[in-house]
């Protein structure tokens, strides 16, 4: 049996990590992997997470199974953080999932189960796992224009034109904030126009919210999702706690399905069924920490303060990089870096230029020229700026 397997193509980002590790040069810069790193290159455990873990270690009396859908307290705490007062709880069916990827996977499976012919529309470009999981599940994929290669902003005209072709029942995947990989995001009035378009087309939005708190702040980053939730009758939201709580390896995510209150029970049952088929019970440790942090005022305040510091430091690096490039290039053409939000920006460089950055300057980024802003520090900003100009970007 096993001899029939063919090798899978290597994950680009993971092979990049390997190349970076093998690179003997000092002063090499890793802007590849999508993980937050502080100025010293570490991904620390957040203070509130450590405190919650200590409390949990003291008080947890059992490791027996949690609910199939995870703990209702986790659903309530995280849905509150994401949706605020937008949606009443009687419209929210939810399951805990293994990370944001798990939430996306369960969302796609729910779509396939509820509406087998539905096409899923993805932004061009999007996080590579989106099309990859859809293809694996044998689902139909379409793309809508999103990134304007010239301005490095959102091609909103093109996006709306393409969304005009969406059929009733199709699913449109939207990045809630901090678009991965481009860093270019919709304004709130644009979100409103997208919501109205989806309502008019009878399409179902699926919001992937993986970076709440990394862009313009916890509330602002959820604003687009809330507008969608306020206007569209049915909405799926896949959320990740990996980045904003820094608990990547705990695999903590949530899938919410918003719909008519009278259908909540059935939807909830189907979500639990999907968990059962795929892995039975979702991971609990991270979800429990998140619940503790969000419901304890002291922990919550501390977490918010630390998250805000992380956000500001990334924003500072963005601004510094844009300023260094402006000074070195003598033009505003890199101003988009300061306008982008979140951990990533797409530079808009050719694969050849990205390869030259690696070979000649020891600077590693994904071949589509996505760079992880958090991989920079005050010392490497001017180095990167000079290198970008040297390779002719």
């Amino acid at each position: 049996m096993l001899e029939t397997l063919v090798p899978q193509p290597q994950d680009k980002i993971l092979s990049l990590i390997q190349m970076y590790r093998d690179d003997p040069r000092t002063g090499k810069i890793d802007l590849g992997l999508g993980v937050y790193k502080d100025a010293t290159g570490l991904t620390p455990v957040m203070r509130a997470v450590k405190t919650a873990e200590r409390q949990l270690w003291e008080t947890e009396t059992t490791k027996t199974y949690t609910g199939l859908a995870g703990e209702p307290a986790f659903h309530a705490a995280l849905s509150g953080l994401i949706l605020g007062d937008t949606v009443t709880s009687d419209r929210i069916a939810a399951v805990a999932t293994p990370g944001g990827t798990g939430a996306i996977r369960q969302a796609f499976e729910l779509v396939r189960m509820a509406s087998p012919g539905a096409k899923v529309w993805l932004s061009d470009p999007t996080w590579p796992n989106h099309p990859s999981i859809l293809r694996y599940l044998g689902m139909e994929v379409a793309t809508y224009r999103y990134f304007d290669e010239t301005t490095r902003g959102v091609d909103f005209g093109g996006m709306m034109h393409d969304l005009g072709k969406v059929a009733p029942g199709d699913v449109v995947l939207l990045h809630g904030c901090c678009h991965n990989p481009t860093g270019a995001n919709l304004t709130l009035p644009e979100w409103a126009a997208v919501a109205d378009m989806l309502v008019a087309k009878g399409a179902v939005p699926l919001v992937d919210l993986a970076y709440q708190g990394f862009g313009d702040g916890l509330e602002a980053d959820a604003a687009g999702t809330r507008l969608i939730a306020a206007r569209c009758p049915e909405v799926l939201v896949a959320a990740s706690c990996s980045k904003n709580f820094g608990i990547y390896r705990e695999r903590t995510g949530l899938l919410m399905a918003l719909g008519e209150a009278s259908r909540k029970g059935v939807v909830q049952g189907n979500l639990a069924y999907l968990n059962r088929q795929n892995f039975s019970f979702p991971p609990d440790h991270g979800a429990r920490l998140v619940t503790m942090i969000l419901t304890d005022p002291m922990l919550r305040a501390d977490w918010m303060a630390e998250l805000e510091a992380v956000r500001r430091s990334m924003l500072g690096l963005r601004t510094a990089l844009a300023a260094a490039l402006q000074a070195a290039a003598g033009s505003d053409r890199f101003g988009f870096l300061a306008a982008h939000r979140g951990m990533f920006s797409r530079l808009g460089a050719t694969e050849m230029q990205v390869e030259r950055l690696r070979a000649e300057h020891g600077i590693y980024m994904v071949s589509d020229s996505r760079l992880n802003i958090a991989g920079l520090n005050a010392g490497s900003v001017p180095v990167l700026a000079q290198a970008i100009l040297d390779v002719g970007i």
Partner: protein, 290 residues
Amino acid sequence: MPSLMPPSTVDDPRTLVSTGWLAQHLKDPDLRVLDASWHLPASGRSARAEYEAAHIPGARFFDIDEISDHRSSLPHMAPPPEKFISRMRAMGVGDGHQVVVYDQTGLFSAARVWWTFRLMGKMDVAVLDGGLPKWLAEGRETEDMAPTPRDRHITVSRQNHLVKDVTQVAQASKLGLAQIIDARAAARFSGEVEEPRPGLRSGHIPGSRNLPYSQLQNPDGTMKASADLRLAFEAAGVDLSKPAITTCGSGISAAILSLALERIGHRDHALYDGSWAEWGMYDDLKVAKG
């Protein structure tokens, strides 16, 4: 009658509560309801007379013009703490009370009194969403007899960061350190029409953004959902990454902006108490038009 309406997402005892919430809590011993109606001088309405004719059971009348700083020549400036304390004591509003403020317009001057309570360090105060008009439209009970209050102790701790004076606003306008948001109607903001108060120049504070408070409300006078509030702020070009200063004609409707900012989680806001009644008066303060 079974209700087909979903439970309200409005209820937050520190910002806004629904009529349903108030009806449910009306008999709570620690609840105090205040009618904080105030009408524009030109309207010909008397808020107190309307209160005496009909108010929500148990409501006391909060007189915005009377409970203000009479040492100032400007209209209804925030009261000195000792005056606020004496009036609240006499009205039987004190420590440990949950306060609900409403007005006869829907969602107007109640927000100003909500802000005044917060200025005095009292956070357990909410505006009634939709006010008396919604309460009446739902056929809920009113009465015409004022309650007999018993003295109640109140502790006040003035939160000076919630209010800005003309010097601070002038500085913010010049340096762009805060986002000034003006709740007046668009034609007053742009300077196309004369100010209703005589002797005031027309226009707005340089660098301020215009968001007429009506744009924060639904047609029934209730406040828009938070998602739409945020949209309204952004559509008005408001930079929410900065601290906010709210302003209007005389500091009443500016408080509606403050309430909306609080609702969307933008907690760093202050109110310019003098507002246009002050800024419009001094020739050495710059005015922008258009």
